[in-house]
Amino acid sequence: MNLKKSISFLILSVCGLVMVIPFLWMVTTSVKSQLEVNKGNVGFLPIEEFSIYSEGEEEYRMTLIKDEGDSSYVHLFNENMERISSYKKIPNSSIINKRQFKFHFNNFVVAFNKVPFGRYFLNTLFVSISVVIGVLITGSLAAYAFATMKFKGRDFFFYLFISMMMVPQPVYLIPSYVLLNHLGWIDTYNALIIPWIANIFTIFLLRQQFKTIPRDLFDAAEIDGCNRLKILWKIVMPLSKSVIATAAIFGFIGSWNSFMWPLIMTDSPEKRVLQVGLSYFSQEASAQTALLMAASTFSILPLIILFLIAQKQIIASFASSGLKG
């Protein structure tokens, strides 16, 4: 029995390592110097190999130009890697080869400032939060109507919405572009927010939850003089907190990570969201591996932090999305 469990742990550990290796390597490469990466130091440790010329107390970084047996011509650099002396002839005995750990945290600063990542972050945050708020408002109103009210065309609208959930994004992407272009919304925040402030899945999710609330509660509230909106706000919403959290999590993650839509609907750097900005950055800096890894790291960091804080809730949310299938 114990052996079986141990084998389970072993397999899960090895495969779990495989799952996170890309992230580990991303982080360790992000703190290497580009020079080391280009030299072929591919492993997980940010080790630097370099030579130093020591002259009494002073030490200088150097690059070798020509080796003449017992002496060499070198360039010397100060600690900021600025060249301070060229083609200097020095004795080989004063050259020391060094190998040391060096973390280039500076890569993060350089990558962040190379393109306006700050702006991209703010854009993404603004769009994602707007979308989540919109989705929750329109979704709870519509779900409330679907779940608790009788009206003509209710089932028609409900099944119309549900059937549209099946349509894949590429189908409505192109006509949406035509439509938004017609409205003059291409390259505006409107194009990123407005089409997404109602979400069919959220309506479905909330409707399922609202239906579970006993009708007696509504009747009692009505006798107490509550109108519909007050019942929704005072009774239904507080009883549905966890499902609302689920909807908000889905909305936020989906909006934060969406790529193809903003790629097509925006042009100017001012309107770029993080994913689009990162994509352009990866083309501009394609040879600068360390910077790309740094940019990737800080791009996924907010969601990783969110995930680590609320992992139970997030995983439960995703798991619940499958049970209705």
């Binding site: 899960l12 996170v20 894949p168 590429p170 035509v178 109602a198 790529f259 791009s299 996924i300 995703f318």
Partner: protein
């Protein structure tokens, strides 16, 4: 009896969502049919060309290549992802300690953005400075070209044994295989969670009864677990299929230049329609027609799976 006035209240509640969904979903969906029948560029509608876009598609070599690549992707990704995620879910279901830790570890790729992880994987598969060749080197295996390799994986495999497979039997290119790995890796956590939820719903008494009857673990899996999680299996099958048909970001970020390379062996259908619609030719109507064909394929596969699901009813 007083006739009740029409209560407009419910419609007011429905209105905000309905406006958005009708204007930005229903209208575009209907519009996509119309656009596909016209010669429509970014400047606006041109003349009515009926089914010309669809007949053009049938003769478009690039379209068929993209279709083929997409099918390869689905054929590899869906079963492998299904088997692996069920396997991990079964292992997770059997342990108590560290269960939520492992679950989170497997789930991390699901919440991270495809853009960032595509950039990371592209560097992993870099020939000179990538991790993939670093591992091969340490194992004493010759380095591979990965994302730059247009030869098929079967061709490469058989070449090791000195068999020269013709290219039409070569299978998906190694570059497309890299895309498959990333796609499976990204979706594995989600599928595992779904399977785990399915497994936890199976009452333990069945297994206890089977233990008493002396049924072995493997027999128990095929006689109890597999039939009882079949609704979950169908859900995972369907979702993974739908998502894999729409792969875009990994192709856009990891392959090329030009995107879809080498030799068009990683060009998938959604990238193809993106390129037609928003690339140089800017042919929105052709792109729309391609999207509708993709939709028809996904829809018919979904129907087929639904029918199979009904037949295999426990």
């Amino acid at each position: 009896m007083k006739k009740r006035k029409l209560d407009i209240g419910p419609y007011i509640y429905l209105l905000p969502a309905a406006i958005i969904i009708i204007v930005f979903r229903l209208v575009p969906i209907l519009l996509s049919f119309i656009v596909s029948f016209f010669d429509w560029t970014v400047l606006g509608p041109g003349k009515f060309i009926a089914l010309q876009n669809y007949s053009k598609m049938m003769h478009d070599v690039e379209f068929w290549q993209s279709m083929m690549n997409t099918f390869w992707l689905v054929i590899f990704v869906v079963p492998i992802s299904l088997v692996l995620s069920l396997f991990f879910a079964a292992l997770l279901n059997g342990i108590k300690k560290l269960k939520s830790f492992f679950r989170s570890v497997y789930f991390i790729p699901t919440v991270t953005s495809m853009v960032a992880i595509s950039i990371v994987w592209k560097i992993i598969f870099n020939q000179q400075t990538g991790l993939a060749n670093f591992f091969l080197e340490n194992l004493g295996i010759d380095p591979l070209a990965w994302l730059a390799e247009s030869r098929g994986i079967f061709q490469l495999l058989f070449a090791n044994f000195g068999i020269d497979l013709p290219s039409w039997l070569g299978g998906p290119s190694l570059a497309l295989f890299c895309i498959m790995i990333v796609t499976i890796w990204k979706g594995l956590g989600y599928n595992t969670i779904i399977f785990l939820a399915g497994l936890q719903n199976i009452p333990n008494v069945y297994y206890e009864a089977a233990d008493i009857d002396g049924a072995g673990k493997i027999k128990q899996f095929f006689k109890i677990t597999w039939p009882l999680i079949s609704p979950t299996t169908y859900y995972v099958l369907m979702m993974t299929t739908i998502v894999t048909f729409q792969v875009f970001s990994q192709i856009y970020l990891m392959t090329g230049p030009p995107v879809g390379g080498p030799l068009g062996t990683t060009k998938v259908i959604v990238y193809f329609l993106f390129e037609k619609g928003f690339g140089e030719s800017n042919d929105l109507s052709y792109a729309s027609a391609i999207a509708l064909v993709l939709f028809a394929i996904i829809l018919s596969l979904t129907m087929l799976q639904k029918r199979l699901e009904k037949k295999v009813h426990y």
